[in-house]
Symmetry: C2
DNA sequence: TTGTGCTATCAAGAATTCTAATGAGGCTCT
DNA sequence: AGAGCCTCATTAGAATTCTTGATAGCACAA
């Protein structure tokens, strides 16, 4: 009889393409994974993986089996969640990953509502950039994460959460008119603060700058959200940030916010979760709160 | 994390309505089952069963959970079967239960084809009456069984296999014309050999006799197939048997076979298998052979 | 050749799962 | 009321399974 643990091992190896990485993800040793997979292969009487010197690949039969047991694993978790939904109060942990952009304005209200309406739910937030969050979700250290849209990944369910608009943000002396859309190409050469290279938004912003022939004087890469905000407020540098982060600056006294226009630059936010595990009820509720909050912020 | 074994325990208890019987069915001890169920209930945080002094009953939440994990268990077995179907040769065991009526004529040809076409498949046949076969299927001592249609049972998948016609069978001196349909009500009082009370066919036959005012002189209950056949051949007693058993008597020299008519009396054959486990590939193939054979016999 | 990546294998210890015995409660018969 | 029989729950120890860490082997690249 093949156990769920063994199936998890097969799934991990299939998705990671490597026994070693699968072991890391499953908090196990390579040896244990190897034994599990070997046991499964033996009791099925078929070879699931083609071993090469730099990892493994699913055989056709292995691929079919992998798809089947994905359903089994998901089903077993769904059953738990479903059963728990019949309890009076929502409880249990929620471990959510969110990008810094959301953490400034959208997080707190959602958190507050959640904490007061479902006091038995313990929430753990991890703030980080998409790469780190994605890894944590894969390792199931997080139930889900909200990150910028990206190319997709094996073993993850990706679904669209909201679309936000990028803004040009500068200080009082930036010359920007608060709330008035700007066309970047028409501005004098920019002194621009951008995220660093490993940030997904960086690539999108650069794309936009080159394809719309925006003139850039100087570029500074900075991954510190608060640092950036403070820096542009005090100097003549500007930066590009999504609308959701701008709510605290709505009055326009400290910082000037100008929607990028002609064409607008959008930021698509997606939620990601492990494909092999459905979201817990409490996680779904929290995600709903977050989404509600983001949509509200985007609308303003 | 809830294991498949634990789920099996929950399913068994749900279907048997008792920890003790579930333990028997699972080849385990009542203690083990109790612990498994307790663990599951604890990790779900809900009560799955209402304990009474004469067994247990699913709570509403328990019922939902039961239905979910049935799918999970079936899925995990399906994955195995599916994976094995990608192997070159069919192999593994088939444990089939069939009623004596089928064993006389339908079994041997199906068995022979199976044995010669799939030499790696080991077949084990259990002959018995529906009660015993049903129990064995529930205990998973058998992969499937073919029995007369009946009222259904929890934990079993029942599906129609074939419909056969009951025949009146007598010896040379019975006065029956071989192959000519008879109306039982028009015959002189019958000296009838029937199955015994715990046989499903018995009830159907009695129903027929009373609702169609058939005159019966004497009744003898006998559960021995060969004994019955031999007995009616030598005496003026007659019996009622389905057509599938009559193939060896097609010539009409030893026994006379007369289809019961106005109205005909049918025997519906169903296949039963555990609901929580799909049929293995080899079992499905064998069942197909059996079905083919039965249909051929019924047609003649 | 040496180094680096990968998976397989082994034996021992840790952890889990099973079992057998016993307990506690309810029902039914005498 | 008490004996007998049924139910499920609870233990402690036995049996099994899982996990680990060390090691071996293999393929490829420098």
């Amino acid at each position: 009889m093949i156990s769920l643990r063994q199936m998890r091992s097969v799934v991990a190896v299939a998705e990671e393409g490597s026994f070693t990485r699968a072991a890391v993800r499953e908090n196990a040793t390579q040896s244990g994974i190897s034994q599990h997979v070997a046991t499964v292969e033996e009791s099925l009487g078929i070879r699931l993986f083609e071993r090469t010197s730099e990892g493994v690949l699913l055989t056709p039969a292995g691929d079919r089996y992998y798809k089947k047991i994905l359903d089994v694993l998901r089903g077993s978790e769904e059953a738990i969640i479903d059963a728990q939904s019949s309890r009076e109060t929502l409880s249990g942990p929620v471990r959510a990953g969110i990008m810094p952009v959301l953490a400034r304005a959208a997080l707190a209200p959602a958190l507050e509502r959640m904490a007061c309406q479902h006091s038995d739910v313990s929430i753990h937030i991890m703030e980080g950039y998409s790469g780190a969050l994605t890894d944590s979700v894969k390792a199931e250290e997080l139930d889900f994460a909200v990150v910028p849209a990206f190319g997709g990944a094996v073993g993850l369910n990706v679904s669209h959460l909201a679309r936000d608009r990028e803004m040009l943000v500068g200080g009082a002396q930036s010359g920007l008119v608060h709330g008035k859309p700007v066309r970047l190409a028409e501005l004098p050469p920019l002194k621009l603060v951008t995220p660093s290279r490993n940030n997904i938004r960086k690539a999108r912003i650069e794309d936009y700058l080159t394809t719309h022939s925006v003139c850039v004087d100087r570029v500074m890469e900075m991954d510190a959200m608060f640092g950036t905000l403070d820096f542009v407020a005090r100097t003549d540098w500007v930066t590009i940030l999504p609308g959701v982060i701008c709510a605290p600056d709505l009055d326009g006294t400290v910082r000037r916010i100008a929607p990028i226009d002609q064409p607008p630059l959008y930021l698509d936010l997606v939620q990601i979760e492990p494909a092999r595990r459905p979201l817990s009820l409490q996680a779904r509720v929290f995600l709903e709160e977050l989404k509600k909050e983001v949509e509200e912020l985007v609308a303003t």
